[in-house]
Symmetry: C2
Subunit: 502 residues, 2 copies
């Protein structure tokens, strides 16, 4: 054993994590630059740098010395404080996983994904699923194989789900989605039959310069500390964080759409508040940052939908919205605005879907992924299955694969098991709302005054500050008890029944 | 010897350089982010990442295996192609230099510079030279010591000059600055006595949004490929390059000043064209990028002053300038514009100095650095010497140290020997102009049409494409013959005699 004391091993662990975080930081900035500022034709050099850096970070973790270190710490687990113990556990998991994947498969898979990304982009543009199918087949094969490396004792798709939401499995998700389906599909049918909401005023001309100032205002209402959180513009909005004092969100402005960027800012703002709220003690460790995709989406979708699309929030911001856009919103009342930002309508594109129909888009993807990974659906039949499920769940006809199974980048990026997190996050949020109101009493009077401090304070106390210290299921249960999708279906049923006067 | 063949050693050399360039890239992007986009209070985390990355890049070069590699290549120099030979030479120089500086001194110096930077900022703000003096003393001591490590066989300041301009020495610079002084000091006195130029219209209100579009126009006139060159905004303009296909310039807009950003864009554009024009073969090697500060400034100041402040260029862009700013420039004629952008006036601040007086600012710094490093001037007497020299060379009274010896960041950053490059670059450019016209004939008709393709083509052919393959002196001589400051003093004398109708 090369460690002379637990103290020495803990220092080595600390150094390893700090180094990893430094690489995460520079790679994150490289990506931020690529998507926000880099000139169009600069991919080649960046690709080279990323390739070299990826190899270095792979080697950094795969170093057999880490195996020794992590074994030593495991053997001395009883001498470790809880944080260090959990750090070693997380790193140990990552290390063993990397060890299990043969290096040549890891490299071949990286190359495949890189090619697949380009092929997918072209296929999407040209509505040409067959050109993408051979790549998707290989990606599915790799994922089935990797699932066996991750955990050979569970069905492959469970092993993949566990990568994005530790502890998640098909049994839970099947029940979850079944309940959603049973309650939402008929609700959506009733909404479709009801009198439709006019949201045409949201699609007048909204100049980008004014929308930029509007974003600043929204971030202010959300109570975001701008000295630690920047905003930039990208094709697709996202949030990235380098540590709990340096978080960036992005948005995309459309001049014919007021709400696209508005809700991107609030959604990404929710992710950012989660990262900004982490306790300093987790900085530069494997426990920094949000714990899972599901918990992350619970925060972003909480702010976006539960708060951002509430009557109280609409009341709080509407006077200011009218100040920013007096001509566009002439004659529009607060109630019109509230109803318009909540308009629900089954549609084809996930990322443009409203709060009510969104999870059904996820359900389609879940069903298909499950079958692909189980080997019960051939890749060539994905378009057919996609169309069938959209008809069944959303009642819409998918005219082509560009607007169908080629719309998302997740599969070409190798992310199988990721989609369910979006739906889970929405449902987690609804259950948190109930718990929050048990603790705080009515929150809506504050929200209606544009004061989110109590809401954010509660989330910080129960979720944000813990970063990745607890496993996602543990964290959720410690706050809300057992996960129950009924909170979410009740929330949607009540909201949309009232909104559409059903 | 662990290398089995020259081929194997060359591959190791290539890999080392590519890895170094990847780190340069990510650290460059980190700096770009810090200065353009990062929220205000995010320095702590970035500092930690930079500290870790600096140590890693230090270790990368200092690795004793590199010593073996470089010795092997030196022994087999005759088997190497000229490029590889030069790569090994450059890396060998860097490696040996790093070996000579004891690691603990390197670290202590880094810590000192970091502290000094903060102390200097505060001292500048509060006009408090004495608080900065102890730091400057230590920095001077370190530089004298390091000079001995770099080259113990020459006077220390020569060793430092050589770091920024390989082959440069005090003998050359003393002659250079003497000639400048003898011809410029009386010329400036005559300009001061002549009728002054009215440039008040350049200080009307120039909105930033329009200035941004004006920058795009200037970059277009300069023939810059925007798919490989971005522009951003920073407190102080600069240029950075990640490879010859990814270059970024920055500028700073002042709403009460049209020309500050205009000439920043043209100046940084000159640096960028140099980087963009490098031959692909030098990418990801130690020979990528401009060869020295002096040659770099020769390009930036060539575009900024020789081209950008020429009557022909003023003629080319003036109609468009009036289109951008019709109200501000009402009644202003092309000749007024040309004269205004060339107004010369002895002043206190180097970075705001005009073309004529700029090199005298450098000369002050050169004289002081020379004495500090020689040990013939005590740090506590710098303010007095600064004031004396400004009076002697520029005829201006320096009212305090904020506007005097505390104005620049170079000394607190440890850059002794850097300043002369600015003056050298200006003089190199004037000599290149003569050579260019010998080769191309009159260039001004093209420039007057806004066509810089021949000018840039000549510079690309003779300077840009070679990146760092030739040493700066070698490169300059191969194009222009022996360096002679008379070209520069003649150029300035002729230009300002005509401009001020002396």
């Amino acid at each position: 054993m090369r460690y002379e004391s637990t103290q020495q091993a803990m220092e080595a662990l600390k150094k390893l994590q700090q180094t990893q975080k430094a690489y995460d930081h520079v790679l994150g900035v490289l990506y931020l630059d690529a998507t926000t500022a880099a000139p169009g034709d600069t991919w080649e050099g960046r690709g080279k740098t990323m390739e070299i850096m990826s190899q270095i970070t792979y080697d950094l973790l795969a170093d057999p010395q880490n195996g020794e270190l992590l074994s030593y710490l495991e053997e001395h687990a009883r001498e470790l404080d809880p944080q260090t113990k959990r750090e070693a556990e997380v790193l140990g998991k990552n290390y063993r996983q990397l060890q299990r994947i043969p290096a040549e498969e890891y490299v071949a898979y990286s190359v495949l994904l890189n090619d697949a990304q380009n092929v997918w982009k072209k296929a999407k543009k040209e509505d040409d699923f067959p050109s993408f199918a051979p790549y998707l087949e290989k990606i599915v094969d790799y994922n089935r194989k990797f699932a066996g490396y991750y955990n050979p004792n569970v069905p492959p798709y469970d092993a993949l789900l566990n990568e994005y939401e530790e502890g998640m499995c098909m049994e839970t998700l099947d029940r979850f989605f079944r309940e959603l389906r049973e309650s939402l599909v008929p609700l959506i049918a009733r909404v479709k039959a009801a009198e439709q909401i006019d949201d045409s005023f949201l699609h007048k001309h909204y100049p980008v310069e004014v929308q930029r100032k509007f974003s600043d205002y929204l971030m202010e209402v959300m109570g975001m500390d701008r000295s630690h959180c920047g905003i930039a513009e990208t094709e697709h909005p996202y949030t990235t964080n380098f540590n709990n004092k340096d978080v960036r969100i992005t948005t995309h402005y459309y001049e014919d759409n007021l709400v696209s960027s508005m809700f991107s800012v609030i959604h990404e703002g929710g992710h950012a508040l989660y990262e900004l709220g982490a306790d300093d003690r987790y900085n530069y460790t494997a426990l920094s940052g949000g714990v899972s995709m599901g918990i992350h989406e619970s925060q972003s979708r909480f702010y976006e939908n539960i708060i951002g699309r509430s009557p109280a929030f609409a009341h709080a911001i509407f006077p200011k919205v009218k100040e920013f856009f007096p001509e566009q919103l002439e004659g529009v009342e607060e109630e019109d605005f509230y109803r318009a930002i909540n308009k629900a309508e089954p549609s084809l594109i996930r990322i443009e879907a409203d709060e009510l129909t969104y999870t059904l888009h996820i359900m389609v993807r879940y069903e298909i992924e499950k079958q692909l990974i189980a080997g019960t659906l051939a890749v060539c039949h994905v378009p057919r299955e996609w169309k069938r499920l959209y008809r069944e769940y959303l009642g819409v006809e998918v005219p082509n694969d560009t607007l169908g199974c080629l719309q998302d980048s997740h599969w070409s990026g190798g992310s199988f098991g990721y989609f369910p997190s979006y739906a889970l996050g929405s449902a987690y949020g609804a259950q948190m709302l109930v718990k929050m109101q048990e603790d705080l009493g009515d929150i809506w009077a504050d929200v209606a005054r544009g004061d989110l401090s109590k809401v954010t304070g509660w989330l910080r106390e129960h979720i944000h500050r813990h970063a990745s210290f607890y496993k996602p299921g543990e964290l959720f249960r410690s706050v809300c008890g057992e996960f129950d999708p009924k909170f979410y279906t009740d929330y949607l049923t009540e909201k949309y029944t009232r909104l559409y006067r059903l």
